[in-house]
Symmetry: C2
Subunit: 229 residues, 2 copies
Amino acid sequence: MNTASHKTIKNILLESKEYFKIAISVDCVILGFENGELKVLLIKSDLEEFKDEWSLLGDLVRPDEDLNTASYRILKSRTGLEDVFLEQVYTFGDLNRHPAGRVITTAYYSLININDHQLKLAHNQIHWHPVNELKSMAFDHKLILDTCMKQLRERVMEHPIVFNLLPEKFSLRELQSIYEAILGIKLDRRNFRKKFFLMDWLVDVDELEEDVPHRPGKLYRFNKEKFQN
Amino acid sequence: MNTASHKTIKNILLESKEYFKIAISVDCVILGFENGELKVLLIKSDLEEFKDEWSLLGDLVRPDEDLNTASYRILKSRTGLEDVFLEQVYTFGDLNRHPAGRVITTAYYSLININDHQLKLAHNQIHWHPVNELKSMAFDHKLILDTCMKQLRERVMEHPIVFNLLPEKFSLRELQSIYEAILGIKLDRRNFRKKFFLMDWLVDVDELEEDVPHRPGKLYRFNKEKFQN
DNA sequence: CCAAAAGTGTTCAGGTTACACCCATGA
DNA sequence: TCATGGGTGTAACCTGAACACTTTTGG
């Protein structure tokens, strides 16, 4: 016999009291591009268990902020940047992923122009670390980083997001070297140019590179008008 | 001056006490294929606020189980099925998504063969609902469903997952109609066959359909040997 | 004048699309 | 015999990959 009584909000709260023993955090894989390689913003772990290990930037989610707000908060507090590209990737919920207790974390990755961000290296233990040189990290952060990199590689093939790593104006060489760094492959210069002009993602700003020890290339900007629908 | 003292586990627990006020749940988009259309397993909401609205199958995550375990538990308790395809999609953390309080939910989607699952319709309010006929749902579940469907459409283009919706042996017509239902487009029969045989995803089991009111088609099974590396 | 990178087209191979007729079965 | 879907091949098109020489600038 089905005598299903509808639960009230109060009932739900009472019944689920036991479950409010899990903390939730967000971790940000903040990526930049410098000297031809991808770098990720890391901090020395402040846990004894992971002393001297690198950790992603993250924090517990506050009860009065949603997940995206939390990741933006972390990003802004660490880089000073607003209006940046940020995308959720995956949620990691293994039982023992955090030595302090049950902490489920949602991973985001962000692409920023490394030069917009004035890092105060002297004041903290945050630094830009080449992604490819990381062997191990605190917690399950290596897994989180790898997962974000995998998603990034998929996304850049379909969506115009790498421009977030570049200044307003950039050369085709810079653009290409970012793709090469992300995908880990060499690309053909002629095919690369052809493809981008066909896709109509670029706008010629009619300026040239300066202070380069070779023939200066033309500068372009991202054709954002094409994508703001 | 940086006098960074490493935090102990105990410190972390004490400092974060305030944060254990968020509950975490998982919601499962359980999909099946029947009569030429995709269906999702739903239940009438047991909340007053959403009386008569359809809800995904979900539950709070227990402190002693990880996220994947929680979604498998829900799937098994509702369908009786084990060893099924289940994939995490996205985590929804808006402040007011649940009227009972702060509940962050991680969405999973699952693909099952609808005939393997003996539904006890009389005993509960669970039923299979055509995905395309759903206009609104309880909570933010319509958004969750749409997000899962979007990911499903991307995944089926690259990965051999639709076989989870089919019985062991199936005809090419059944396989094609699943792709058409998921992608929402008509496909060319000749090109579809050509492509699948080229990809080597199918094994001819040397049997024919039975009880069809037309020329019976050959039956195939998924070439799982090819993918179990 | 040398080094370094910019700029520029064509060819080939492989994959995707479009398309129509005969066949086997059950009613 | 009719209705229904099964089974089959070819040509046009498009996309991606491979590939080399001349030009411009700074040193």
